[in-house]
Amino acid sequence: MTAWLCAIDHKRVGILYMLSALLFFLAGGLEAMVMRAQLAAPNLKLIAPEVYNQMFTMHGTTMIFLVAMPVLTGFAVYLTPLMIGANDTALPRLGALSFWLQLFGGVLLYISFASGNAPDAGWFSYAPLSEKPFSSGPGLDYWALALLLITGGTLGSAINLIVTIATERAPGMTMRLVPLFVWSTFIASIMIVFALPALAASLVLLLSDRLLHARFFDPAQGGAPLLWQHYFWIFGHPEVYIVVLPAFGMISEIIPVFSRKPIFGYPFMATSTVAIAFLSYGVWVHHMFAVALGRNFLAAFAAASMLIAVPTGTKIFSWIATMWGGAIRFTTAMLFAVAFLLEFTIGGLSGVAFATVPVDWQLTDTYFVVAHIHYVLFGGTVFALLAGVHYWFPKLSGRLLDETLGRWSFWLIVLGFNAAFFVQHFLGLLGMTRRVYTYPNLPWFGALNLISTIGAAILVFGILLFCANVAMSLFFGTVAGDDPWNAWTLEWAAASPPSIRNFAEIPTVRSRRPLWDRKHPEAPDWISV
C-alpha cells in the first residue's frame, strides 16, 4: 500500500492514473444513466430539474477532466519511457505530484455533492449563469477550485512528458524514429501547456467574480459575458485534440501490429498531428457561431475548422492503407481499432457539418451535437482506449485478457453505443435541444429517446463485462510472455510486467521498428527504408 502511495516509478504512477480514471468513468457513467432514465419518456419526473442539471454538469466535467485526460496521461506516463527505451520519466517526482493534484481535484469536485449543491451550470459554465446572482450555492466554487487543481496536475504531467521525450530517448532514436503514440503524446503535451493556462485564467476570473465581487463577466458593470466564452473555448477546442491525438497514436500502434505491416506514411502521420495541433488553436469560435460576432470573423473560424478535416482525413486513409494488403488478425484489440475507424469517421463528418456555419446556426445546442461529441469522444477516444487496454494489458499485468469475454463486451459496446447515440442525430434534426431535463411529447421524441436509453443500458452492460474481464484476467488470465503480439516497438522488449528498471541494457535504435530489426537481421528496416 505504502509502495503505491509513495510511488514515483512511471509504471506505478501510470497505473494509478488509469485506476482513478476507471473509478471516475464509472461515476460519470452512472450520472449518464440517471440522465437517460429521466429522458426515457416525455414529461418524466424521476429527478428534479436542478438535479438533472447537476448530472450533466458532473458527467461532462468528469469525463473530460477526470477520465479522458488522466487515462491518456496514465498510458503516456506508463508507455512513453518503455517505448523510447528509457528507464523512467525525466521528472518522476513531478509526475507523481501531478497525479495526486489531479486525484484530489477530482475528490474535491465530488465532495460538492455532500454540500447539497453540486455544480449545475454545465461543464462549460457560461457566465453570467455561473455568477453568484444566478448560481448562489457553493457548487461553482467547488467546480472552479477543483479544475484549478486538475489544471495544475495536467500541466505538471505534460511538462514531464515533454522533457522525457525530448531528453530520454534511447541512443539512435531520433524524432523521426519515435513511435507514433509517442509523437502524439508529445504534441498533445505541448498543446496542454498552451491551452490549459487559458482555462486557469478564466477560472481565476470566475472565482474573483464569485468570491471577491469582481465584475469581469457582469455586463451591468462593464464586464463581458463573452470574455468567458473566448477564454473557455480557446482552451476547450484544443482540449478535444488533447484527448483525441493520443488515441490516434494508439490506433497507429495497434493497426500495424495486427495487420502485420508497418504504418503507412509515417512522416505524413506525424506531420498531420502537428498540423491538427496548429489549426486547433484557430477554431475556438466555432463553439460560438450562434453569437452575433460578425460574418467575416465567423467565416475565418469556419475555414480553419473545415481545414482540420484534411489532416484528420489523411490519418483515416493511412490507417486503411496500413490494413490494405496486410494479414489481419482480429484480436479484441484489433476489433476495437477497426470499429474506431468507422465510429470516429462519423464523428468527424458531423464535425464538418458544424464547421459549415449555416448548419451550425440550426443544429448547435441540439441533440445532433450530443451525438457528434460522443462519436468523437466515445467512438474515437474510448474505442481507441479499449483497443489500447486489450493491446497493452499483457505488458502491464503479464497476463492476456480473455478473448471470449472481450468479444462479447466488444459487440455489446458497439451495439449499445450506436443505439444510444446514432438516434440522437435524428433527435437533433427534429429540433430537440440539448441540456433539457424533459421534453414535450412531440412526434418521434419519445420513441427515439427510449431507443437511446435502452442503447445506453446495453452499453453499460458491455462496459461492466469489460471491467469483469480485466478483474478476472488479472488473476486467472493466460500468462502472456514478453511479446504476445509479435510486435515491433521497444516496450515489448521489456519483461511483462516490466521490472523496476525497464531495460537491463538500454537498446540502441536504428529504425522505427527496433524489434523487427532484432527479429529479422536478414532484412532490417534501416536497410529497406
Binding site: 457560461y126 450562434a290 496486410g326 457539418a353 445546442d365 429540433g431
Partner: protein, 302 residues
C-alpha cells in the same frame, strides 16, 4: 417542434439546402471509408500468422497527395457555399438600427415588444410573407432564440443586443425553444411564432394595446388583490415577470409547461414552485376566496 429541415422561410430554406449538400458529401465520404475498411477486413483477414509477414509498404507519395488534395477541394467547396449562405441568412448587426420588434429572453420565458406598445408573451405574432428585423435581448443570462422552421438560431447575450431576420412564408403556428442552457427551467422556455395574414396581424396589434375589459363582481375584488398582494409589482410593471394583460387569450402557461386552464393557473397562485420548479415567482399566502377572486380576475384578462 418543427424540424429545421422543413423550412418556412428563405433563410431556413437556404440552410436546409446547405445541410443537404453536406449530408450528401458526408455520406459519400463515409461510404468510401467504410468500403475501404470492410474490404480490407474481409479480403486480408486471417491470411493468418504466416511464417513471414506481408511485404512491408512504408508509404506512397502519390496516394498521400491524392487524399490530401481531394478533401481540400471538398472543404474549399463547402467554404464557398457556407459564405454565400451566410450573406443571405445573416441580418445586419448595426447598433441602434430600427427593428420591427424586440424579443427578450428571461429566466424562463420570452416576450416580444412591438413599436406600437403591444406586448406578447408566449405567442409571438408576425405577418406571414413579410420579413421582420428582430432585435434580440436578454434580461439576465445567455439565452438562444430558435424557431427552427423560420430562422437561424441566435444567442441573446445580456448587454449585447443582436439582430436576426424572422419570416414565415405561410400562415401557421411555428414552435420554438431556448437553445442555450440557461438554468433550472431551460427545458421549459418554449414559445410559438404565430404567422397570420397582414390584416389579421394588424388587428391583433391593435387588440394588444387595448386594455382588457373592466373587471366586475368577484373579478374586481381579484383586480384589487392583484395590486395589494404585490402581483402587479412584477407582472404589470417592469420586466421581472411575464406581462399578464391578455393572459386569458394564451393557450399555454409557463413557457409551454402546461395548458392554460383554471386548474393550472390556480397552481401558480397557490404553489408556484409546483407549477414550474425553480422559477423566480415567490410564494404568496392566499386564502381560498382570494385565490378564487384572483382566478376570476385573471380569467377575465382577454
Amino acid at each position: 417542434m418543427g424540424s429545421p429541415f422543413s423550412p418556412h422561410s428563405v433563410q431556413t430554406q437556404s440552410i436546409a439546402a446547405v445541410f443537404h449538400l453536406v449530408l450528401v458529401i458526408a455520406s459519400v465520404v463515409f461510404l468510401v471509408v467504410a468500403a475501404g475498411v470492410i474490404y480490407s477486413c474481409v479480403r486480408y483477414q486471417g491470411r493468418g500468422v504466416t511464417a513471414s509477414d506481408p511485404r512491408p509498404i512504408f508509404g506512397s507519395r502519390n496516394l498521400e497527395i491524392l487524399w490530401t488534395v481531394v478533401p481540400l477541394a471538398i472543404v474549399i467547396t463547402l467554404f464557398v457555399v457556407t459564405v454565400r449562405a451566410m450573406v443571405l441568412i445573416d441580418a445586419p448587426q448595426n447598433a441602434g438600427q430600427t427593428a420591427d420588434l424586440t424579443i427578450t429572453g428571461h429566466q424562463w420565458w420570452w416576450d416580444a415588444r412591438y413599436p406600437n406598445g403591444a406586448v406578447a408573451t408566449g405567442d409571438i405574432h408576425i405577418p406571414a410573407g413579410r420579413r421582420l428585423l428582430v432585435r434580440l435581448e436578454s434580461a439576465d443570462v445567455i439565452h438562444d432564440f430558435w424557431a427552427p422552421e423560420l430562422a437561424r438560431k441566435m444567442d441573446a447575450v445580456p448587454g449585447r443586443p443582436s439582430y436576426l431576420w424572422l419570416e414565415a412564408d405561410t400562415p401557421g403556428a411555428y414552435s420554438g425553444a431556448c437553445s442555450e442552457f440557461c438554468g433550472a427551467q431551460h427545458a421549459w422556455m418554449r414559445f410559438r411564432v404565430v404567422a397570420e395574414p397582414e390584416a389579421d396581424f394588424q388587428a391583433w396589434l391593435q387588440r394588444q394595446i387595448q386594455p382588457p375589459p373592466e373587471p366586475t363582481g368577484v373579478a374586481a375584488e381579484g383586480a384589487r388583490l392583484f395590486r395589494s398582494k404585490k402581483c402587479a409589482d412584477c407582472h404589470a410593471f417592469g420586466q421581472k415577470g411575464p406581462d399578464l394583460t391578455h393572459l386569458a387569450t394564451r393557450a399555454l402557461l409557463g413557457a409551454g409547461i402546461s395548458p392554460n386552464t383554471p386548474q393550472t393557473l390556480a397552481l401558480w397562485l397557490t404553489n408556484p414552485q409546483a407549477a414550474k420548479p425553480g422559477n423566480r415567482m415567490p410564494d404568496t399566502p392566499l386564502s381560498s376566496p382570494e385565490v378564487q377572486a384572483l382566478l376570476a380576475y385573471l380569467e377575465s384578462l382577454r
